[in-house]
């Protein structure tokens, strides 16, 4: 589940690979999996499991 949508992502095991698959490499973003922050420094090592609730967020204009 990514940003509220069910997604099947083949051949992905860690967060870095997921970001690459989603064409988000190099974008300023932050991620939480199952309501826990995934620090950027752990993207390579954090393994994604089936059923993970993933939120990928960015900065937008707001007051």
């Amino acid at each position: 589940m990514i940003n509220g949508e069910n997604r099947q992502i083949p051949d992905v095991c860690n967060v870095s690979q997921l970001i690459e698959q989603l064409n988000l490499t190099g974008k300023r973003l932050a991620m939480e999996i199952n309501q826990e922050i995934v620090p950027r420094s752990t993207f390579e090592t954090h393994i994604i499991c089936p059923g993970d609730q993933i939120e990928i967020v960015g900065a937008i204009g707001g007051g």
Partner: protein
């Protein structure tokens, strides 16, 4: 020191200090509701603001990969970002949002905490705000907190350790101006941290009134972005904040019910 030099000193050396950092501008502005990011940048530059707010939202996946990004148009190296928790109706949502914002901004811990009560008024849910503040303070966040124009709640948030307290003038986006100047004055009088009016300002005179009441600054969004000419309104707000601050320092005359002649009565020849 000459009077002129003293005046200049008052005008130029009057920084707003938040969490130990000095800012020359006392006007904080939002980055949303503009026609586009370029207009946002023009208006923000016209406002002179150094601190600008932003929201944290889901990234669009697979849509417009080249869409301009807020942080590219308004780089965090040039402005101090104040991520907000707009849209949060519980302490839990607000805490998650702040953690994501800190990660997004590489450890930057200054946040605007707002926990809303209902969609109709967008008034703060003060009890949830207390809960969120307690958790976030333990995690090392520096909190500028949106709250009601309630002197008791404002003082409690200060005592908890928030770095600035931001009572509303009126409901968010309402443009009604300062509905309760006496409460705002009481909040200012009691405070040892900066008090900024956040939300409800409609036009330049409202901003001047807030500053004349002794507020340390203002945070606004809709009053500028929703104006017919946002860039011009941003400039007007900058001047209003500066004028209000100077008037506050200058010390206004007392209000009296009857006239006092401006020209001497002595020496009249009739």
């Amino acid at each position: 020191m000459s009077t002129q030099m003293q005046q200049n000193k008052t005008q130029t050396n009057d920084p707003l200090i938040i969490a130990g950092v000095e800012y020359q501008s006392r006007l904080l502005v939002g980055t949303g509701k503009y026609a586009d990011l370029n207009q946002a940048k023009q208006a923000i530059d016209a406002s002179g603001a150094e601190i600008i707010t932003m929201a944290v939202r889901r990234t669009n996946i697979g849509q417009n990969p080249d869409e301009p990004n807020l942080l590219d148009i308004l780089p965090p190296e040039q402005y101090t970002y104040l991520p907000n928790t707009a849209g949060c109706y519980s302490a839990d949502e607000a805490v998650r949002t702040c953690r994501l914002a800190r990660e997004l901004l590489d450890g930057h811990s200054l946040v605007k905490l707002e926990v809303l009560g209902d969609e109709k008024t967008l008034f703060p849910d003060v009890s949830e705000t207390f809960k969120a503040a307690e958790i976030l303070l333990k995690e090392g966040f520096q909190i500028m907190v949106y709250t009601n124009d309630d002197p008791i709640a404002a003082k409690r948030l200060e005592e908890m350790g928030c770095v600035a307290v931001m009572p509303l003038a009126a409901p968010i986006g309402s443009g009604l101006g300062i509905r309760n100047p006496f409460n705002i004055a009481t909040i200012v009088e009691n405070a040892r941290v900066p008090i900024l009016v956040d939300a409800g300002v409609g036009t330049a005179s409202d901003a001047a009134i807030a500053m004349e009441l002794g507020c340390d600054g203002l945070l606004m969004q809709t009053a500028i972005a929703g104006a017919k000419n946002p860039v011009l309104m941003a400039s007007a707000m900058r001047k209003a904040v500066e004028a209000g601050r100077e008037a506050y320092h200058a010390g206004r005359i007392p209000k009296k019910r009857y006239a006092t002649a401006s020209s001497p009565v002595d020496g009249l020849f009739f």
